[in-house]
């Protein structure tokens, strides 16, 4: 009843192809944006910013980048974390070499380096497919993390081998570093994520996105109908790595505050892959749902035993966490292999025809 679409007539092709053909979708999004932009910043505590809001947004963005490559263009990647690392280290070099640079510009620009590296490691995709390609991306994963450790120039030869985020100012307010407040960082992350999401939605709906989907569904057939596979695959790697790189820069500059090379190790890659798959491959919305689940669940599990007064040691909780996440992955794959986004789509279908069965 709430979702009834009767009476919303489309009188032009343009209206039919609009981003939100159903009015209720637009209203729902409006409510979500209202919460994200106004209500959360006013009400959330420091703890909520640091453990939920900011990481969820950053993980969603990284998963979005991966989803463009794996979900839309069909190229399996296991090296997401390394590309995040490229973004983070590039951003670090940019702000230390050019301290006058606006930090947000630096973050957006650091994605370009990641895109370059992504294209380089994407070149094998022209010949290698499926799981074989996953190895090419694993090569990127292990090689880049090794490089972060061994190439001193990247971390300005400091003794710890880690990068420390300096205090960065924008319009007289600290946005990164130890002095920045969580609210400001949240707004920066939210602005970047909103912008990126908008760009990505439109990219996937456009010419480029359609050529990616054709490549994913069957690349030989796509080639036969005149899609340039090289262009399609390499742009997918470039755009995906760009988004992932920006997410990596945000990850270190807006959330962690410091990073060691092993932060970008393979568990992070898998974490983002889980988010993309549990959320739903080939969907934009799914990345957010997946990130809420994967980031939110451990927080919930950590606070739950305390709230219930159960005497469980923190190490056991951590292991239980891993176990539960593992079984949840299997569980979600069994009940809905197409992810949470498909689950929402089914609910929405039901709501549209409700209360009638057909």
């Amino acid at each position: 009843m709430l979702y009834r679409t009767a009476g919303q007539f489309k009188t032009s092709y343009q209206a039919d192809q609009a981003l939100f053909p159903v009015r209720q979708d637009a209203v729902l999004l409006g409510v979500v944006l209202l919460f994200a932009w106004v209500i959360f910043p006013l009400t959330a505590s420091e703890f909520a910013f640091q453990t939920l809001l900011i990481p969820i947004l950053i993980y969603s963005l990284a998963a979005l980048g991966l989803n463009l490559l794996t979900g839309y263009a069909g190229q399996l990647s296991l090296g997401t974390a390394a590309f995040m690392g490229v973004g983070a280290y590039a951003c670090y070099k940019l702000v230390t070499l050019m301290p006058w640079l606006n930090p947000v510009v630096a973050i957006l620009f650091s994605g370009a380096f990641s895109a370059g590296v992504g294209v380089a490691f994407g070149i094998p995709s022209l010949r290698i497919k499926g799981f074989y390609l996953a190895i090419a991306t694993l090569a990127a994963q292990f090689f880049l993390v090794w490089l972060f450790e061994k190439w001193g120039w990247l971390y300005n030869y400091n003794a710890s081998g880690a990068i420390q985020v300096p205090n960065l100012e924008m319009f007289g307010v600290y946005v990164a570093g130890p002095q920045a407040s969580s609210v400001v960082q949240y707004f920066v992350v939210l602005a970047v994520v909103t912008l990126m999401t908008l760009v990505c939605i439109n990219l996937t709906r456009g010419n480029l996105g359609r050529s990616w989907k054709a490549t994913r569904d069957m690349d030989i057939a796509a080639e036969l109908i005149g899609i340039n596979l090289m262009r399609s695959k390499l742009t997918a790697f470039a755009v995906s790595s760009y988004v992932v790189g920006v997410a990596g820069a945000l990850f270190v500059f807006m959330w962690r505050g410091a990073a060691e090379p092993n932060l970008f190790d393979i568990p992070l890659s898998f974490r983002i892959l889980f988010i993309a798959i549990i959320g739903g491959l080939g969907s934009i919305l799914g990345n957010y749902l997946g990130a809420i689940l994967i980031v939110g669940l451990p927080v919930l599990l950590n606070t739950l035993p305390e709230a219930l007064g159960l005497p469980i040691s923190s190490a056991t909780v951590e292991h239980l966490n891993i176990m539960i996440v593992g079984s949840l992955i299997v569980f979600f794959l069994i009940i809905e292999p197409h992810g949470l986004a498909r689950l929402w789509a089914l609910i929405r279908e039901k709501l549209i025809i409700w209360p009638f069965p057909h």
Binding site: T70, L76, P124, R127, I128, K129, G130, F131, Y132, A134, I135, A136, L138, A139, Q141, F142, F143, V145, W146, E149, K150, M218, I220, A221, L224, I266, F270, L273, F274, I277, L281, A315, T316, H319, L320, N321, I322, M323, I324, V325, G326, S327, L328, I329, V330, L333, I334, P337
Partner: protein, 317 residues
């Protein structure tokens, strides 16, 4: 610079042939272990097209169960039998709970499911056995721990007896597996299933039985690998990283080929040691073993997209 890259390493090799032999032997032993893990992958991949990421954690889990049971006072050889039982239960559970509902899903979904299994087993293993490093019960199993000293060309070559045992057992296992796959009824059923699921089902081969069987065999391989690797480096969750090494081995050899898994494993084991000792440590700051195998596999794949021994990829629209 060019001298350092192209000439000096080879001069070093020729000048100290005993050291070169030692490096190659070390590489061979780790190569055998990579090959064993890759073998587990190949078996499961051939019979079900599942890219089983959990093989590495199965190695850890088998080794932990063995050591854990022994710590409870069970005699060593009974531990082995009991561990095999545990691996069988694991195989049945995985087939029932995870694989059966997911039949016919795309490859990536099944791949993700095995990562889910991996995470589950990591958490489960840590809760039951604890995360600390344990010592493999090498002596209790009757594996000799002395070393053999050889003196080729007036140099010194140290071969650990447990490594020799590992190589011998691995070779035996591979031969047994090949005989099983090629000569027995069950083995032929596994291969038939790998060739064509529907055709195999239509002549009365039971998918479920075969899957349990294949996962159980993978469990046996995991136990052998776990004992061999645990004897070298102790039993801990760090063993899991060798599972990543098995991936380039598979790619290099080809996903479907048992020969490929073995040749690929030995190649990668020896080449990465050689590269690390003669190029990595002097020129690149060391620790190149983390990525060398992947880059090598990548380069080979660029020229042979199906790996060295894989089935030729034929694509139709």
């Amino acid at each position: 610079m060019l001298n350092e890259i192209f000439i000096k390493p080879f001069v070093d090799m020729v000048e100290a042939p005993d050291f070169l032999m030692q490096v190659l032997w070390e590489g061979l032993v780790s190569g055998i272990l990579y090959a064993l893990i890759a073998l587990g992958f190949v078996l499961i991949y051939r019979s079900s097209r599942i890219f089983n990421f959990a093989q590495g954690i199965m190695v850890v889990f088998a080794a932990l169960t063995l050591v854990g049971l022994h710590a409870m006072g069970v005699p060593a050889w009974i531990c082995v039998v009991l561990t095999l039982g545990v691996m069988f239960v694991l195989a049945v559970t995985i087939e029932r709970v995870v694989l059966r509902p997911l039949v016919g899903q795309p490859d990536i979904i099944l791949f993700m499911a095995t990562i889910g299994i991996t995470l589950f087993l990591i958490g489960f293993g840590e809760i039951i056995f604890g995360g600390e490093n344990k010592v493999m019960i090498t002596e209790q199993l009757g594996i000799p721990t002395d070393s053999v000293l050889l003196e080729p060309w007036g140099g010194l070559l140290i071969l650990e007896q447990k490594d020799i045992t590992a190589v011998a057992v691995a070779a035996l296992l591979v031969v047994a597996l090949l005989v099983f796959l090629n000569k027995t009824r069950m083995g032929r059923a596994i291969r038939a299933l790998g060739d064509d699921h529907q055709a195999a089902l239509s002549v009365g081969i039971s998918l479920q039985t075969i899957w349990v069987l294949v996962w159980f065999i993978a469990g046996i391989i995991a136990l052998v690998t776990g004992i061999a690797w645990g004897a070298r480096a102790g039993v801990s969750f760090a063993l899991e990283v060798i599972a990543y090494k098995a991936l380039p081995v598979l790619m290099l050899g080809g996903l479907e080929s048992i020969t490929g898994a073995i040749v690929g494993g030995l190649m990668i084991g020896m080449l990465e040691k050689l590269f690390e000792i003669y190029w990595g440590q002097p020129l690149l700051g060391g620790n190149t073993e983390t990525w060398f195998a992947f880059v090598l596999a990548l380069i080979v794949l660029l020229f042979r997209p199906q790996g060295l021994f894989g089935e030729r990829i034929i694509e139709r629209v």
